[in-house]
């Protein structure tokens, strides 16, 4: 509780399925126990099939989302193509490590499909940019302990997009219900090679 990254609350989660990925977050923004907003999305899209999730101190979430939007725009102008998930991961890592001795209080996650091969990729970071490459799922935020528990039990590899949606949604929903600082709505993106589906979930509002 006495940690800047748990002042505003919020959680995010990403999973790999069969030729697809899913990334989800809650919508709460609070000040300690006081809820302020139920419309604070923590997922940001880069190109067609890549997403960045940012949990932690809200001021840093906004600052970084703008920083990465800026850096991504420059990247797209220079390269004349959209950024790959792995490239974004390295960009996030070096941007965070630049502030090694005065970190942003965030727990970013990256999920996406490679633009050409459509190979799924997910990863997570600590606040100073150490990349956690995972093959299955990545959790982040104030409900991360609960999310670890949910994902370790619910997750199974090679889920079809529709099944992956149910699994990631249930993992997130049930985790945030046991976290006072997360919840107040949830959003899930399912990314396949053909389309990106955005679903707003029905959640508890307490």
């Amino acid at each position: 509780m006495s940690d800047p990254s748990s002042i505003n609350g919020g959680s995010a989660l990403a999973m790999v399925g069969k030729d697809c990925i899913a990334i989800a977050c809650d919508l709460r923004l609070g000040n300690q126990s006081l809820g302020l907003s139920n419309n604070f999305e923590k997922l940001f899209q880069f190109g067609d099939k890549t997403f960045l999730g940012l949990t932690g101190l809200a001021t840093d979430v906004i600052t970084l989302s703008e920083t990465f939007r800026f850096k991504n725009n420059l990247y797209e102008l220079r390269e004349e193509r959209s950024i790959e998930p792995t490239t974004l991961a390295n960009l996030v890592s070096s941007t965070l490590y630049e502030k090694r001795f005065g970190p942003y209080f965030v727990g970013p996650i990256v999920a996406g499909l490679h633009s050409k091969t459509n190979k799924p990729f997910i990863c997570g970071f600590d606040s100073i940019g150490c990349i956690d490459f995972a093959k299955d799922f990545i959790v982040s935020g104030t409900a991360s302990d609960q999310l670890y528990g949910m994902c370790e039990s619910l997750y199974e590899p090679n889920l079809e997009p529709e099944d992956l949606f149910e699994t990631i949604s249930q993992a997130l929903l049930n985790a945030v219900d046991r976290d006072a600082l997360s919840g107040w709505g949830a959003i899930v993106y399912i990314v396949t090679k053909d389309n990106v589906t955005r679903r707003v979930l029905k959640t508890r509002q307490d």
Partner: protein
């Protein structure tokens, strides 16, 4: 632009003073070892990364490449070991290119120790550096403050005591490659079982004089998760959805090029 920024430092100090402490950075907890053998050197590491008491990564990579035949195992703050290792790897390659020579282990070590000393221990990187170069096989270690040690066998990290116990009892001069690999794997396993900060698998890297370095990713996997007896798959439609929007990415554009027509066959000699 170059170097590290301290822009947030004052804000974070203020936050600390208000009672909001620092978040836990990912630590590699870690058991890492290295051991020399007859004509080469082996290093090995476990694969657990921790954030406090949470296992952040069950199969992370702690063996880093500094040069094709110089590898290092890292313990301490995960981000620091990774970044310091990447930086030195880059500089070492530039150095090798400029000198038109294979990089030496002692060069890598000197660059690492001078960098870490400059940061007075604030970069929490504890490394075992090993490799082969034109002067032979080498095994060295660097600590966060910039001190270095030489030895025929070494261990670092929270599991270093458990690993050192194995190394001290079983190390022999002039072992074969296989014996050295076995010894290092045993030392790491001792860390995996007896140290809470270490776990999961054993990664191993062999560097032999006159040969390419060999990385054995997950050389031992003594902690394979048992397959789930039953599936937790939810019935589709379990989750209540308020709104849905779909964005199609693929506009399919199809052009068929026909190769079967014999009329277009290429004339080889007219």
């Amino acid at each position: 632009m170059p170097g590290l920024g301290f822009d947030n430092y004052q804000r974070n100090q203020f936050l600390s003073a208000k009672g909001f402490g620092q978040p836990m950075a990912t630590s590699t907890g870690t058991t890492i070892v290295g051991c020399k053998f007859k004509d080469g050197v082996v290093i090995a590491a476990d694969t657990r990364a921790t954030a406090g008491s949470i296992v952040a990564d069950k199969n992370c990579e702690k063996l880093h490449q500094l040069a094709p035949k110089i590898w290092c195992a890292g313990a301490g703050t995960a981000a620091d070991t990774e970044m310091v290792t990447q930086l030195i790897a880059s500089n070492l390659e530039l150095h090798a290119l400029a000198q038109n020579r294979q990089p030496r282990v002692i060069t890598a070590l000197t660059m690492l120790k001078q960098h870490l000393f400059q940061y007075q221990g604030h970069l929490g990187a504890y490394l075992i550096v090993a490799g082969v170069d034109p002067t032979g096989a080498h095994l060295l270690s660097v600590q966060a403050h910039g001190s270095t040690d030489i030895g025929k066998y070494q261990s670092l990290g929270s599991g270093s005591l458990a690993a050192m116990a194995v190394l001290e009892t079983n190390f022999k001069e002039d072992m074969t490659k296989e014996e050295a690999m076995k010894l290092c794997a045993n030392a790491i396993e001792s860390g995996i079982w007896n140290d809470l900060g270490s776990g999961s698998n054993v990664d191993l890297c062999v560097m032999e004089v006159g040969k390419d370095a060999e990385l054995y990713r997950n050389y031992l996997t003594p902690n394979v998760r048992a397959e789930k007896a039953r599936s937790y798959k939810f019935a589709r439609g379990t989750t209540a959805v308020l709104r849905e929007s779909v964005k199609n990415i693929l506009d399919i554009e199809e052009t068929v090029i026909n190769f079967t027509s014999t009329a277009d066959a290429m004339e080889v000699d007219a």
